[in-house]
């Protein structure tokens, strides 16, 4: 239907009807899985907030949201570790070395105090040289695989290091040690 050829009163009526619908649009139960772009940006900027954790769960359910998340990471992150093409897909990747930083995954058989599990894993992010990021309190390691995005919060450990401790059976370990994963680092 070409609106331009419809009489004026009809066009006005159509617009009034549409406005009524939009004005009273409400987020119902079925559509509360919908995210705004701002929601996803906030999630990338501060992934450890409860709202962000919920947002990431929804992001991981939709390809178009993951694409947006990745786009935002590309805008915000200068430190990246792409898919490790030289590694075998059967390898469990415990170290990545990039020009500006390295990531180590240290499997520890001894229990770390505070963790209920018997064994734990330490993630260590080391910056190669002094940058503005050395003064940051936290770094976030965003790990993207084909099917989902995982985020690990690393605390500043003095100087150029940030670290996190995960339980051995933490689900994020799968993505962290996957050779096909692409890693991004953001800071707060």
């Amino acid at each position: 239907m070409n609106l331009h050829t419809a009489p004026l009163d009809e066009r006005i009526f159509i617009a009034l009807q549409a406005y009524e619908q939009i004005k009273y649009a409400a987020l119902d139960q079925a559509s509360n899985q919908r995210l705004s772009f701002t929601d996803i940006v906030s999630c990338v900027r501060c992934p450890d907030l409860p709202r962000s954790i919920r947002t990431l769960t929804i992001v991981n359910q939709r390809l178009d949201y993951r694409r947006k998340y990745r786009f935002i990471l590309l805008q915000m992150s200068t430190l990246q570790s792409p898919q490790q093409v030289a590694a075998s897909s059967n390898e469990r990747l415990l170290q990545r070395n990039e020009a500006q930083f390295s990531i180590q995954i240290i499997e520890n058989d001894k229990p770390i105090r505070g963790l209920k599990e018997d064994a734990s894993v330490k993630i260590v992010l080391t910056l190669s040289e002094s940058t503005e990021h050395n003064m940051r309190e936290r770094a976030y390691l965003h790990c993207e695989t084909d099917s989902k995005i995982e985020v690990v919060e690393c605390q500043a450990g003095g100087g150029d290091r940030f670290s996190a401790v995960l339980a051995h059976d933490d689900l994020r370990m799968v993505a962290l040690s996957d050779v096909n994963s692409h890693m991004y680092v953001t800071f707060t």
Binding site: I12, Y19, V41
Partner: protein, 524 residues
């Protein structure tokens, strides 16, 4: 009953869930880093404005304006500038926009023979809302007023949701390029929006509904449009038609139909010829639509802080607030809308709960029309007390705003004076002098003080009083418009509202129609 043209046609006007959800999200998007006085990232007014542009299919100008803003950002920054502007710096308010472009400086534009300059009035105390961004590209000039940045940001947020790769397109097309690139990108975004709305907000059902109403009136030989009885009959005749089950929906459809006819007639009376140019047609349509929307009284904000009415009161006033020009002409429809709209709502809820039974269709014996009338009168009185309470706050904290409130209600100064048992202002004085005289009346000031002391709603107690005094003025003006609409409804329909017997008779006869109609629809 008039046979339907095609009873299979549903009149449920479709809007996709995703479009509905996107707008619901816009209304509730917080800043990542809120500063003083920041509320939601996108103001209610901005979201409403965008909704009007979308519903009225009048988005060419806002796209053009937004692309100009993006051009200014891209050509004074880098590839990430647009993303940073809207999502990291969140420069989406007048104040933040001013801060952003001030930091960039006047000579940041990387194009030769082009400039991006923020200009503020030189006067002391000029607010950020009075600044404007001046863009010059060769001989092309464009100005974006800082007060527009929030609606442009709202539009950007929506476009990012519906248009793929918008940031990349903006940078690639605008960086280092001139006015032609702006035009090209703006047209391209309009095309994207057009295609999106064709799927998510198709106009066909609304058009069918319009034709059906016109045909129905024609068959009734009702040249002057709908009456109260026509509306009831139209609803009864629509039995079984999807989208017309609820009486309240039919009333809204009819009011919109009446408004559309009235605005079109008004527009035709003002024009000398029918323009064939699509842009001119769009413009005329949007001007007519804006006239309707401008009349609507913003009821939602009156239930927030400062809280001028309760949510229950707002519900009772919704039809009057949305269609103040129509409502007083349809007094019985207003009563039916409130009373039997609620009655039908209760039946629908009972059906949803699988508890619908015969007793749901029994008409309550109390005279609900008289009750509604009493509530309307009480609302006028309550609004008056609220007015005095607001005046007390303003005179205490910001006397100029108090005078502004009185000046905006100049037509009611006599009534205000009478209500406060103050001397009526002299007709020989100027408006400013009248107001000054009124404010010296001890009876008025005492009335304001007592009204304030009796009001314990949000915004009217010392700990909850707001700093934003303009909000008090704007909300109270809207409240006074509600009162004016209620007065007009009651005064123009005295034959109905003044007689308890008349109200009772109407209630009972309408009740019989509604209860038997609903029973047939829902139980049989």
């Amino acid at each position: 009953m008039i046979p339907d043209v095609d009873s299979r046609i549903s009149f449920a006007v479709p809007m996709s869930d995703s479009l509905a959800a996107d707008f619901a999200l816009l209304k509730d998007t917080p800043f990542y880093a809120a500063e003083q006085n920041d509320k939601n990232k996108f103001s209610a007014k901005s979201v409403e404005k965008l909704a009007q542009y979308i519903a009225g299919r009048h988005y060419a100008n806002v796209c053009f304006e937004l692309v100009h803003l993006c051009w200014a950002i891209v050509n004074t920054g880098d590839e990430q500038s647009v993303f940073n502007y809207f999502y990291i710096d969140e420069a989406v308010t007048a104040r933040r926009m001013q801060h952003f472009f001030t930091a960039i400086g006047p000579d940041a534009c990387k194009l030769a023979r082009a400039s991006v300059q923020l200009q503020s009035p030189a006067s002391h105390g000029a607010s950020a809302g009075s600044a404007s961004l001046h863009i010059a590209i060769h001989e092309h000039r464009f100005i974006i007023h800082s007060s527009r940045v929030n609606v442009l940001s709202t539009c950007m947020e929506w476009l990012v949701t519906i248009v793929p790769n918008v940031f990349e397109r903006v940078y690639q097309q605008l960086s280092g390029n001139g006015f032609n690139a702006i035009q090209t990108l703006a047209l391209s975004l309009q095309k994207d929006i057009y295609e999106y709305l064709s799927v998510h907000l198709p106009p066909a059902k609304a058009q069918a509904k319009f034709h059906h109403m016109s045909q129905w009136l024609n068959d009734k030989k009702a040249d002057s449009g709908f009456t109260d009885e026509h509306i009831l009959r139209y609803w009864c005749d629509a039995r079984g038609r999807e989208g017309s089950e609820k009486f309240t929906t039919v009333v809204l459809d009819v009011f919109q139909y009446q408004e559309a006819r009235a605005q079109a007639a008004h527009s035709r009376a003002l024009s000398f010829s029918e323009d064939a140019d699509p842009q001119a047609i769009d413009e005329r349509t949007f001007v007519a639509i804006e006239t309707v929307w401008a009349q609507q009284i913003p009821l939602d904000s009156l239930s927030e802080s400062p809280k001028l009415i309760s949510k229950q009161q707002a519900q009772r006033l919704s039809l009057l607030a949305d269609y103040p020009q129509q409502s007083w002409r349809f007094a019985q429809t207003v009563l039916r809308f409130n009373v039997f709209g609620g009655f039908q709502g209760a039946c629908i809820q009972a059906r949803r709960n699988r508890q619908l039974a015969n007793h749901h269709f029994v008409l309550p014996t109390a005279n609900h029309y008289a009750e509604q009338t009493q509530k309307f009168r009480a609302q006028i009185e309550l609004n008056e007390l609220t007015f005095f309470a607001v005046l007390h706050i303003l005179l205490k904290q910001d006397p100029d705003k108090g005078k502004e409130l009185l000046a905006a209600n100049a037509h009611a100064l006599n009534r205000i004076a009478n209500a406060a048992d103050s001397l009526p202002p002299s007709k020989m004085l100027s408006q400013a002098a009248l107001i000054a005289q009124l404010l010296t009346q001890p009876a008025l000031l005492e009335k304001c003080k007592r009204a304030y002391q009796q009001n314990n709603r949000q915004g009217f107690t010392p700990p909850t009083e707001l700093q934003d005094h303009q909000l008090y003025v704007d909300s109270t003006l809207a409240l006074m418009q509600i009162s004016d609409t209620l007065r007009k409804l009651l005064e123009k329909n005295r034959h109905l509202f003044a007689s308890q017997d008349m109200l009772k008779q109407k209630y009972q006869s309408d009740g019989f129609i509604f209860s038997s109609e609903l029973k047939q629809r829902m139980m049989e």
